[in-house]
Amino acid sequence: MSTGTDWRGVADEDEEADVVSTSAGLKLQQQARALVGDLVRPHRRAVFWAVVLLVAENAVMLAGPLLVAGAIDTGVPAALRGDLGPLAWAIGGYAATGIGAAVLRAAFLALSGRVGQDVLLEIRRRVFAHGQRLSLDFHESYTSGRLISRLTSDLDSLNDLLEKGLDGLLGAVLSLVGISVLLIWLDPVLAAIVLLGFVPLVFLTRWFQRRSRASYRLTRTTVARLIVHFVESMNGIRAVQAFRREKRSDQIMDGLSGAYRDANADAFVTVAWYVGFLRLVGNVTLAVVLLVGGLRVVGGDLQLGALTAFLLYLRRFYDPLDDLAQFFNAYQSAAAALEKISSVLDTPAGVPEPATPVALPVPVRGELAFEEVRFAYARATTREILPRFSLRVPAGQTVALVGATGAGKSTLAKLAARFYDPTEGAVRLDRVDLRDVADTDLRSALVMITQDAFLFSGSVADNVAMGRPSATREEIVAATGAVGARGFVEALPDGFDTDVRKRGGRLSAGQRQLVSLARVVLADPAVVLLDEATSSLDVPSERAVQAALETVLAGRTALIIAHRLSTVLIADRVLVMADGRVVQDGSPEQLLAGAGEFADLHAAWRASLA
């Protein structure tokens, strides 16, 4: 086993290619550009005023050298003649430009900074909210680490751009235009020399854009892998330490971090050449201007002051170029990040919200029907998970799903919860196609809990309240009591206010499952789907939960997946599944009496009991 990349193993489709083909690259750029347009549009006015401020600032700044030239060409000779007026005007004017420039600059920075932060906030909102809307199918293939990297590292590079970039890019364009105009006005001949210098700059910039885009795309994919490894190692720290994985994991990190390091260093080198050549062009231009300008002054075609002013402007144009290149660089990095972000945003929600939702009856009765449903994963069409079937669960019935691992129990429950949409056919709740129900309505009518009892940071009460955020403390306590969890919660250091810390490190798996059951009781849905929701409970807790379930499930429709047959026996009806098909369907008593799979399972289970 080496620490190259073979530890990652082989997967169906690799999540993202390191190198992007030209056509795919163009599409990415288009997506990213459309996203930028969309984000900036609401701030049109602010951007307009920011540009006005910047233009004003630049105009004021540009007046500076003119006033210096005025002071030297007119002011000093006048002063020598005893007339201090022109000199005083020039100097006063210059001080005024200083004040003006400072104020305008501060105003511009404050305004553009606000626009930048607003844009960032909006894109955070979009990616986060869209991430929540995207189907489980997306999350399972995209994975949490990469989504985390989109929302952290990618947004960081966008932040970099917004902090430095707006200023830099707008400033560059303005300087370019403004100084060109001024130079032409000062002396067309010298200006022509300067403008000639722009030609290589255009080519240089094109080259830079192409090279750095490739490097930065690579930084985005490599940093995402690094984040995945980091997050997984931190979340699995117990296993890492118990199995002495530290060194191996260090080596893997070195490899991933090294790839990121190299991609970044390549980008740095590209910038180095770019900036070096920019300066070269600038300096050569300066020397030529000096030569030609000097000759023209000697020839009497040009005033000494005009040449001085010209040289000053030229200097001002090339001086910030180094930093402008830095801004441009930040832009390239952010563009790569934006491509990643926009492709997440452009992923359609696998289970889209209906455009015109159909209301569920009030109150929801809870009749579930699968009509001619067939299901296969979109990603791997070769394998059918659930062949065509129909099934009706009358309102109020408790149905247990039984069968070996991979029989399709969870998939069936996930279809009922609309985590996926069926490939063919329809799943209906109270005769309404789930695809026509608004998500909020669906989630308040139907709740599914899985064995993955994730706790969010906050108190135990906060976590139970996930079932119904508007619940009062009394309701939270009552719901916790209903699943028999009140005792252990109250024994915690701060009772219901105990911070569960990250991922509930302090609560055992069984306790976490009790919390998630309490969530369901609080949510009070018409339909309950339990997927292995009680697997980690000890027998008395399970018994308490089952007693509670019998009360809680009364009057509700329920689909229960459980490996323990004791849980199954509280059902009104048992469905035995094998290879995606329902092979037996009947009451527990009927099935026990028969000689099918269920009777065998039950016998095996009886044998395992004391």
Binding site: F243, L455, L569
Partner: protein, 601 residues
């Protein structure tokens, strides 16, 4: 050991940045070279106005065309040198700055992996992630650019002012006077800025935590339809961060204003003083032009200082945050004078008056546990949900250390044994089997002990046969063989998704792979369906035959794998005996393991 995440206090920027020293030191040559290149480039650039003066005052003023080309060539030479030096400066910094970042990350990661679980319980993982990514990026930029330019621009300023003094002491004095308020205002603004920089980074870490939870808890959020609520929480945090960032923007804007205004005033003053001097014949026009040119040239170095100081503050806050974690001393480490375990390990596991309280907790979870597991014996551990069974199992491989009493393996306190030796002797299967996004082989072998220190491509001590053997024992060989690429199939989040039962069997395979003499299994069968359970049970029975095992059990079937059962209640072992004996004599035990169905039927 301080495990509590600190909340934004603030020391001095330079003191914080000094702690980058050890990482910068190995790369000091290229970095200093880069700084020198930048400095010389800047000075070459600064020389241009002086050349311009000699051209304007000399050949141009006198109409002398013979020396003009030579002087222009001089300007060109300086210009070329400057461009070459700029390229050099950036080339020199490209690799080292990125290496510094990568090394700092590697050290942080290695450190984090060795900090005890108690540390990870208390630190929000988003705060750790933001330190490993965002903060290190900030530091990289500082090392590559802002730091170097802070020095270079400082020197440029000093040289520029020196040149001014040389041109005319009076003009130099004018500049010196404006520098005083400039420095005072700048430092005051920088101090406030660095406080906000720290706050922003902490808020960024909190935001990363919500992001992580939103991704990892997606199933719960989907089931309960609480995406909107979490989005609202995320947005509240994001708005907080925006507020801080806006404050930073405003402080920076004020800094820019100061740094633009004061130099401009200085130029105006120089124009006035200079023109007066020219009028009175104490100054040549050329000198005045040169002085203004020099000041104009200094415009950018001065104006950029605000931004550079802001970057320094950001880097200082990031460095502080970095070292806050690095400075935490790992509490669970190899002993100073390690004792070795018997070879081969006999496997006698003794818990002697074991007490345990979670760090920062006030409730003792274990209050004097006494338990002896004889070599080769399988001991089941039963107890109500939350009675401390899982905690107890974590004490054996020292994921936590006891707060009182001792855990002994073959009579040796586990704290006196090298961690590597201990964890080789003791293997654990966790209740939540965490899979990583990697191949099945990697997931089972995890640590690959001894393939570590040497060459990265060194051979593993486990062959594929070993891995298959472990999978067979855990009854996982069947489904692994059916995976599209067998052992090479990527599983975990980024690959094939496995069911709870399949994951649990892999966790079991992990535990048995090294043929460890001591096994600690935390409810190894909870997610298995009845058929699989029977299979795994059979296999487990074979494995448990030769080793010492502590097995947390919730179900009668698991209990029956054990030779004896220990009952954990209120932090103590209240009964030890064989299953049927306890069932007959201990009502609490009976209540705990007899199933609902038995009561019913």
């Amino acid at each position: 050991m301080s495990t509590e995440p600190p909340s934004g206090h603030h020391g001095s920027t330079t003191a914080a940045l000094r702690r980058l020293g050890p990482y910068i030191a190995p790369h000091r040559l290229p970095l200093i070279g880069s700084g020198l290149a930048a400095l010389v480039a800047t000075l070459a650039g600064l020389a241009v106005p002086l050349w311009t003066r000699s051209i304007v005052d000399g050949p141009v003023a006198h109409g002398d065309l013979t020396t003009l080309p030579w002087l222009v060539l001089g300007v060109l030479a300086f210009g070329l040198a400057e461009a070459g030096l700029i390229l050099l400066r950036r080339m020199l910094v490209a690799r080292p700055s990125n290496r510094i970042e990568a090394t700092m990350r590697a050290d942080l990661f290695a450190h984090l992996q060795r900090l005890p679980v108690a540390f990870h319980d208390r630190w929000a993982s988003g705060q750790l992630l933001s330190r490993a990514t965002t903060d290190l990026t900030t530091i990289r930029w500082f090392v590559a650019f802002s730091g170097i330019f802070l020095v270079v621009n400082g020197v440029t300023l000093a040289v520029g002012i020196g040149v001014l003094l040389w041109l005319s002491p009076w003009l130099g004095l004018v500049v010196g006077v404006t520098a005083v308020p400039l420095t005072v205002l700048t430092l005051a603004l920088e101090r406030r800025y660095s406080r906000e920089a720290r706050r922003a980074q902490d808020q960024g870490g909190d935001l990363a935590t919500v992001v992580e939870e939103s991704a990892l808890g997606i199933r719960v959020l989907k089931s309960l339809g609480r995406g909107r609520e979490l989005t609202a929480r995320f947005m509240a945090e994001a708005r907080g961060l925006r507020g801080t960032e806006l404050l930073k923007v405003r402080l920076l804007a004020a800094l820019w204003a100061v740094l633009i205004l004061l130099p401009e005033i200085a130029i105006a003053a120089i124009l006035g003083v200079g023109a007066y001097g020219v009028a009175h014949g104490s100054l040549t026009l050329g000198t005045l032009v040169a002085a203004v040119s020099v000041l104009t040239y200094l415009y950018w170095p001065i104006a950029s200082i605000g931004y550079l100081l802001a970057e320094a503050s950001n880097a200082a806050a990031a460095t502080t945050r970095y070292w806050e974690v690095r400075d935490v001393v790992p509490a669970i480490v190899d002993p100073a004078a390690p004792r070795s375990l018997l070879t081969p390990v006999r496997g006698e596991l003794v818990l002697r008056d074991v007490h345990f309280t979670y760090p920062g907790g006030d409730r003792e979870i274990l209050r004097g546990v006494d338990l002896t597991v004889a070599p080769g014996e399988t001991m089941a551990l039963v107890g109500a949900t939350g009675s401390g069974k899982t905690t107890l199992t974590a004490l054996v491989p020292r994921l936590y250390d006891v707060t009182g009493g001792a855990v002994l393996l073959d009579g040796v306190d586990v704290r006196d044994v090298r961690l590597g030796d201990l964890r080789t002797a003791v293997a654990t299967a966790f209740e939540d089997p965490v899979l990583i996004s990697a191949s099945v082989r990697e997931n089972v072998a995890l640590g690959v002990p001894d393939a570590t220190g040497g060459s990265p491509a060194g051979p593993s001590t486990y062959t594929d046969e070993d891995v298959w053997g472990a999978l067979r024992i855990a009854s996982a060989d069947g489904f692994v063989a059916a995976l599209p690429w067998g052992l090479d199939t990527r599983i975990g989040e980024q690959g094939m998704s496995l069911s709870g039962g399949q994951r649990q069997r892999l966790a079991l395979a992990r535990a048995v792979l090294g043929r460890p003499p001591v096994l600690v299994l935390d409810d190894p069968l909870s997610a298995l369906d009845v058929h699989t359970e029977a299979e795994v049970e059979g296999a487990l029975r074979r494995v448990l035959g030769g080793v010492t095992a502590l097995v947390v059990a919730h179900r009668p079937s698991t209990v029956q794998l054990a030779d004896r059962v220990a009952m954990l209640q209120d932090g103590r072992i209240t009964a030890v005996g064989d299953h049927s004996e306890l069932l007959a004599t201990d009502p609490a035990y009976r209540a705990l393991v007899s199933s609902l169905d038995e009561v019913r039927t």
